[in-house]
């Protein structure tokens, strides 16, 4: 589907992103419909996920992280839903595409840097010289700090992308072995069974690590070490 010179067709990626957004929104909103003091099952899910992310934000950023909490919560649920949707048979993992993860990481990086500049002005460049380093080491320390700062969006995006890609590739490779081995196919079957469990853990863990690192970068920008 073309719009002028641009391809705007509604891809697999877009479909599953829409599914993820609708599912996450539905679970949280419908779960909190009957907000009773003693939560039922869906309300517990919504409350637990809220508490999980809220504690994470409070532990890493402190009290002024509260204004960024909606963004962090959205980010966490988006990445988590993206990872988990890929575990459903015939599901599509939109987080296994480098362009998706890189866009998210780039937006976070630019946003955090802008927040740092807005809050601290040009003093933000003092971030690159950690307090307590002797001034003689500055020509060595500042480039190293700068390089590691600019490697943040790269590492953030590649970590999520490579984890999702490698996990699914490994599962597909071993699933192929099941069919080709015939009778002895139960050996790769057990392995794929265990690997699926590991993939579920990795899906949750990578969503958590993505969010926690975003909170830590935000903390760096707000508090300058």
């Amino acid at each position: 589907m073309q719009l002028g010179n641009v391809d705007v067709s509604f891809t697999n990626s877009a479909t599953f992103m829409a599914i993820a957004v609708i599912t996450a929104t539905a679970i949280v909103m419908l779960g909190m419909r009957r907000h009773s003091l003693v939560p039922g099952r869906w309300q517990s899910i919504a409350e637990l996920s809220y508490l999980f992310v809220a504690n994470m934000v409070r532990d890493t950023i402190g009290p002024e992280g509260r204004r960024y909490f909606p963004f962090i919560f959205t980010l966490f649920l988006f990445v988590l839903a993206g990872n988990m949707l890929g575990m459903i048979p015939y599901g599509f993992t939109y987080t296994s595409h480098i362009i998706v993860t890189f866009t998210m990481a780039a937006i976070i990086f630019v946003g955090v840097t802008v927040i740092g500049f807005v809050k601290h002005g040009l003093h933000f460049f003092g971030f690159f010289l950690p307090p307590g380093t002797p001034l003689l080491m500055a020509p060595l320390a500042v480039p190293i700090e700068a390089i590691s700062y600019f490697s943040r969006p790269v590492s953030l995006s590649v970590r999520l992308f490579a984890n999702m890609l490698a996990g699914h590739t490994l599962m597909k490779v071993f699933a192929g072995f099941i069919v080709s081995l015939g009778v002895f196919g139960f050996v790769p079957f057990v392995f794929v069974f265990a690997l699926t469990g590991l993939e579920l853990l990795i899906a949750f863990l990578q969503a958590y690590v993505f969010t926690v690192l975003t909170c830590l970068y935000l903390n760096d920008a707000l508090h300058l070490h």
Binding site: V158, R159, Q206
Partner: protein, 74 residues
């Protein structure tokens, strides 16, 4: 030598990099088990950092894998 052969050799060499991640993950969980063994009450506090550390180390293994894939297919 031909390009295809060189690509395969390059990918194989790049995959050696995951050794570091293996040692790293072992080190992380070894210190986690030691810490919980010495002080079981600290289990809650160190568990969170253990999983963050594990994900960061695993990322290095996957960087090596990405480079291997890039050599093989790009």
């Amino acid at each position: 030598m031909e390009l295809a052969a060189a690509k395969m050799i390059g990918a194989g060499l790049a995959a050696i990099g995951v050794i570091g991640a293996g040692i790293g993950i072992g080190a992380i969980f070894a210190s986690f088990i030691q810490a919980v063994g010495r002080n079981p009450a600290a289990a809650g506090a160190v568990t969170q950092m253990t999983w963050i550390g594990f994900a960061l180390v695993e990322a290095i293994a996957l960087y090596a894998l990405v480079i291997a894939f890039m050599i093989m297919f790009l």
